[in-house]
Amino acid sequence: MANRISLWLTVPLAVLVLVGGAAGLSGWSFDVVLPHVLPIGGGVALGLDRLSAFFLVIIAAGVLPCAVFAFAYTRHQKPERDGMTAALAAGMSLFIVSMACLVLARNVLTFLVFWEAMSLASYFLIMTENDRSETRRAGWLYAVMTHAGLACILLGFLTMAQSSGSLSMTAWAQAAAAIDPSKRNVAFVLVAAGFLSKAGAIPFHIWLPRAHPAAPSHISAVMSAVMIKLGVYGLVRIGFEWLGVGPRWWGVLILLIGAVSAVAGVLYAIIDSDLKRLLAYSTVENVGVILLGIGAGLIFHSYDLDSLAALSVAAALLHCLNHTIFKALLFLGAGAIVHATGTRNIEEMGGLLRRMPQTGALFLIGSLAISAMPPLNGFVSEWLTFQALLLSFRVPEQFVNLVFAIAIAALALTAGLAAACFVRAFGITFLAMPRSECVKQAHEVPWTMRLSMGVLAVLAAVLGIAPVVALRPLGYVTAQLLGEQPDLAFSLSGVVAGGSFAAIAPGWVGLTLAVVIFAVWLGFRLTGGSLRKRYYDTWGCGRAVHSPNLEYTAAAFANPFKRVFAFLYRPVTAIEIWPHGESRLFVKTIKYRHESRSIIEEGIYAPLAAAIRRTSARIRAVQSGNVHSYLLYMFLVLVVLLLVAK
């Protein structure tokens, strides 16, 4: 009974966040300081401005459908896990509250308190199914990475506080010019590293593909769609507001990290055959696209081309919102599939479109949106990001133009590979014939799950057809952030970027596409006469093609990419052959393994972990076990402090 109540708690919380966000966007703002709640560090300071309101809307858009999805998803858990679902729902509410307050935080202490609350809540949510060792390892890695990130943010904030003399961020913005640049750069790098690790950008992304699949689907949907955005929120705050106008290399650094994250993210997504890990890697890719927008914005900001900077930030924030919508839709779809078939491996799936028609159609809409196909919302934000990058020729410096050219190439390659990745994800999972028994009896999921996915699909279509719904508030957000309107002119249907540089009417494109398709279909229906249609076997060179083993599998589909980008995967291939007893020539079974290795994990983290292990082994010698040596240490430290502190 307990879990029913706590489940009912999450939905109103999400609605409250949505109301707060909508009010904030329409101009309402407040600043409140509660000194007595936390005596040290200036107490709890919360403030709402347009950027925070926009992120509140993102949080609500991600959390509300997942809360509705959770109803049916948790009901079918095994009975002894009943206590677990109560903790799950409670954890979810704490998670929502901490994220919402984090966005409102205005001083160092509140920011870090809610940041830690969010990390702990998400850690426990990941560990709900901790009977599997894989989940425990994922949880452990997640905890280590988030707290390393927290340490960086703490150090960065403290350097800023020490050099600006105050603990409240708004004070930093005014004092930004006075602080000496080297301190500001150190602070930026540290805090950016912390936020990038939470956002899952490439060098710090390794926790993401392990933590998200381990969590239950609606939790990984919230984490992937919403929690990642708070890293982006932090980056926007320090880049454009708290640390003032930074030097050029800040923007170039973020742009390059974005380009690398986008390309590597989608390349790892293409070869993965675990549905939820595939979606996690595609989150890394979309964070890369968002970072491209923010990096471009930072560069334009440092050249005082503020209208272009506003355009790039608007594109990045629009992609944040769009990504929340279609990534939540895809993760909930994956949750529905796992719920119906019990497996996450797309090699075993197939033919689900006939057995789960609505989930299939909604997953298709999600795949189209994430591959940025015209009538849906992914296209609008990726198109805007492209125009922001293409407009970079107004920057006078030649080296920066080259960096933008590389960023454009990376974004284009990502767009192509994302389309290929989701053709594979959707095609192998839903089409042709089922490849395993458990998939054969798959059945459609309860209506609450389909309802939440349906809401997200409708949102994706609406934002795709009429982007003005999101662009108008974004105009105010960027105007407040950068003091200048974005270089955008938009009416109900059209969007014009960069003066006369580029124009598009997504509403009309969607409408014309629908009208033309309907006209062609109607034309056939009328003139076609008796459309003679006959059902027969698939053409397999005359052989009977009834069994699914003739189909193309996920690994086969990814093979061209694995060969073309072999320098990144550095695949390990192993072939084991079991011959029959009598003679080596008659083979019983052949096992072919084609593993790809992650450069980042082996190149950076493995040696790092080994170095830590070695140094800690040496330090352990200090723990000699007798009390006298401990006393000696304390005495020495005291003396040293006295000398230093003089």
Binding site: R532, R534, Y536, D537, W539, C541, G542, R543
Partner: protein, 175 residues
């Protein structure tokens, strides 16, 4: 590249004019509507099925694509899949393991379709008659419209057979 262009400019178009008219074609066709005949007369996609032939007929059929016979000028075109095809060009005696695939290929071809059997083997298993691996002539597996005898028949004969199949179908003449 230079040599190729010099060769191209040097040789004129060598396609033999006119439509080949050979008498020794056996016709077993059945009626085909006038409208379809007019359409097929100008655009016919052929799927060549080797039902166990010794490839003598295939070499001759290959000759059809050459500049001399050039079946493209009659609107004929070889296609990769029976789904795209209108006419099945079957060669060779239907061996035991090719009987079922031939039937499947025939069923996979959309209506209106017809079959041209090429070579003596297709007509009556030719020299392979009675062999243990031979299932029977082509007509025992799929309904055949035109048979082009000869071992192997000249490309002109095959071309005439295909064109006859289209015309015959229209005029509705029965054996």
């Amino acid at each position: 590249m230079k040599l190729l262009l010099r060769k191209v400019i040097g040789t004129a178009v060598v396609t033999e004019p006119g439509r080949p008219r050979d008498a020794d074609i056996e016709t077993l066709g059945h009626a085909l509507s006038e409208r379809v005949r007019k359409l097929y007369g100008r655009s016919l996609h052929i799927r060549e099925v080797d039902a166990g032939s010794c490839n003598g007929c295939e070499i001759e059929i290959g000759g059809l694509n050459s500049p001399y016979y050039d079946l493209e000028r009659f609107g004929l075109h070889f296609v990769a899949s029976p789904r795209h095809a209108d006419c099945l060009l079957v060669t060779g005696p239907v061996t035991r393991n090719m009987a079922d695939p031939l039937k499947r290929t025939y069923d996979a071809t959309p209506e209106p379709k017809f079959v041209v059997a090429v070579g003596d083997c297709a007509k009556d298993c030719g020299i392979f008659a009675g062999g243990y691996g031979v299932f029977g002539p082509v007509s025992s597996v799929v309904p055949v419209d035109v048979v082009v005898p000869g071992c192997p028949p000249a490309p002109r004969a095959i071309l005439a057979g295909i064109l006859k199949a289209v015309e015959l179908r229209a005029s509705g003449s029965v054996r």
